[in-house]
């Protein structure tokens, strides 16, 4: 049932932005925004490593707050402690951006048709039609 629907004008997407939190409070806020983001993010860690993937959960409480993500190109999940994070980049496409019902209705018929055909072609290419 399509019972969740993105309605109304959309907030500006965070796509492309990079957060370099200066303190734990800013870091916690940035993680919350990343948790809400419907695209991949890239974490830069204190070790110098970077991880790109989808952040699907976070546990901001406790003595060692951590987040969980599905790294892109890997099958399992990874846990990262907040304390290890230097920056959070909203590096992947925001898949929710421009997908509201209003955006769809406001588009020209020709544009809607192109998008509908594109979606159908992608589903067909995957064997889902």
């Amino acid at each position: 049932m399509t019972d969740s629907k993105q309605h109304g004008p959309e907030a500006q997407s965070l796509e492309g932005r990079i957060f370099r939190p200066a303190n734990p409070k800013e870091l916690a806020e940035a993680v919350e925004q990343a948790f809400d983001y419907r695209g991949d993010i890239t974490l830069a860690l204190a070790s110098g490593a970077t991880i790109e993937g989808y952040l699907f959960n976070r546990t901001p409480t406790g003595s060692r707050p951590f987040l969980q993500m599905f790294p892109k190109g890997q099958s399992g999940e990874r846990m990262i402690e907040y304390a290890d994070i230097v920056s959070i980049a909203f590096s992947g496409k925001d898949t929710a951006s421009g997908k509201s019902w209003e955006s769809w209705v406001e588009k020209k018929e020709s544009q809607r048709r192109v998008e509908a055909e594109q979606a159908a072609a992608e589903a067909k290419a995957r064997g889902h039609l």
């Binding site: 399509t2 109304g8 695209g39 898949t95 929710a96 997908k99």
Partner: protein, 338 residues
């Protein structure tokens, strides 16, 4: 009668057993989301907007069965994404039927006719076909022409083969009452067992709620939709929930009634809100701060009247007292009574 007696008996005995055991929070329907990939791209859908590598993830049959056994709800709803895309969906369903769970497989029906051979008709299996109105409204809602006709053809074939088929319809504030009533007539003429309806939920990221069905508008819409209803309409849901939608009674949300399990884990607190995930159903029950959710408690819940939170409340009302049971009987037998 929209729901088979055996299903009503199973649900009734389950709920009464929970009450006798003194269980305060018990699940009624497990919302099992084995994947988020869909073969439609409905505008505004809040369930399928993820990167490709997340859309490619799926629950295995074993994970699905383990979740069902862990939560022990008598009914399982399988939404998505489009479940029929899952290559092991027939196996998942077989396992659930073997466990005597009443399964509602929610589908847009694009693949249904092609996949029917993989399934066996059973009182435990219902195809719940997403239909958002007559042809014009439905094809607009799913952003693709021709889907309504494909779905109706698949429904007819499934019925011909002896499957249980219901429809599920989400209504937003642009719903035309007369056309929705005509749609109900049409679906009953097609021969579905029953219909399920629910108001839509505005996706939480939307900052402007101008098109969000406010509670009064929801009540007004459903009161006009369901008043003086055609006696032939059958709804596959609690009659008290329908009265709740019409504004005849008020409930608080029961978010634990329809717990959600998907590739991220057990979703806190409900099917619609994503406030985090835990590994086990017990953790969900124990770690979710339930008092922070529901009407008047959380701005995200302010205007929600969606089935996944309030249908369990209606069922609780039915079995909570003799008067609740009486109200249910009356609403079932005399749906047009004032």
């Amino acid at each position: 009668m929209a729901v088979p007696v055996s299903q009503m008996y199973t649900v009734a005995t389950y709920v009464l057993a929970q009450k006798l055991k003194g269980v305060k929070r018990y699940p009624l329907v497990l919302m099992l989301e084995p994947l988020f990939r869909c073969n439609l791209a409905c505008a505004g859908c809040g369930k399928i907007q993820y990167p490709d590598h997340v859309l490619d993830k799926r629950l295995t049959p074993e994970q699905c069965w383990a979740a069902v056994e862990e939560c022990a709800a008598p009914m399982v709803s399988i939404p998505g994404g489009e479940p029929l895309i899952h290559p092991e969906m027939a196996e998942i369903v077989r396992g659930l039927v073997e466990r005597k769970k009443y399964v509602y497989l929610c589908t847009n029906a694009i693949l249904l006719e092609r996949k029917l051979d993989e399934y066996q008709p059973s009182k435990y299996l219902t195809f719940s076909v997403h239909m958002d109105g007559l042809q014009e409204e439905h094809d607009l809602a799913v952003c693709r022409d021709g889907v309504y006709d494909v779905a109706v053809k698949a429904i007819r074939e499934a019925l011909r083969r002896g499957f249980r088929v219901t429809t599920n319809t989400t209504l937003f504030d642009d719903a035309n009452v007369e056309r929705v009533r005509r749609f109900f007539d049409e679906m009953m003429a097609v021969g579905v067992e029953g219909m399920m309806i629910s108001p839509g939920y505005s996706y939480q990221k939307a900052p402007d709620q101008k098109n969000f069905l406010k509670r009064n508008r929801t009540r007004d819409l459903f009161a006009r939709l369901l008043s003086e209803r055609n006696r032939g309409w059958r709804f596959n849901q609690s009659p008290l929930f329908l009265e709740f939608l019409m504004g005849k009674r008020d409930y608080q949300c029961t978010p634990w009634g329809n717990p959600t399990y998907n590739i991220f884990g057990w979703q806190k607190p409900c099917y619609l809100l994503q406030d985090g995930y835990v590994k086990t159903f017990q953790e969900l029950l124990e770690q979710t701060e339930w008092d922070q959710y529901g009407t008047g408690r959380n701005e995200k819940c302010a205007d929600c009247m969606v089935h996944c939170g309030y249908e369990p409340s209606a069922v609780e009302d039915t079995f909570g007292s003799w008067s609740g049971f009486g109200r249910t009987v009356k609403a079932t037998l005399l749906p047009n009574a004032r």
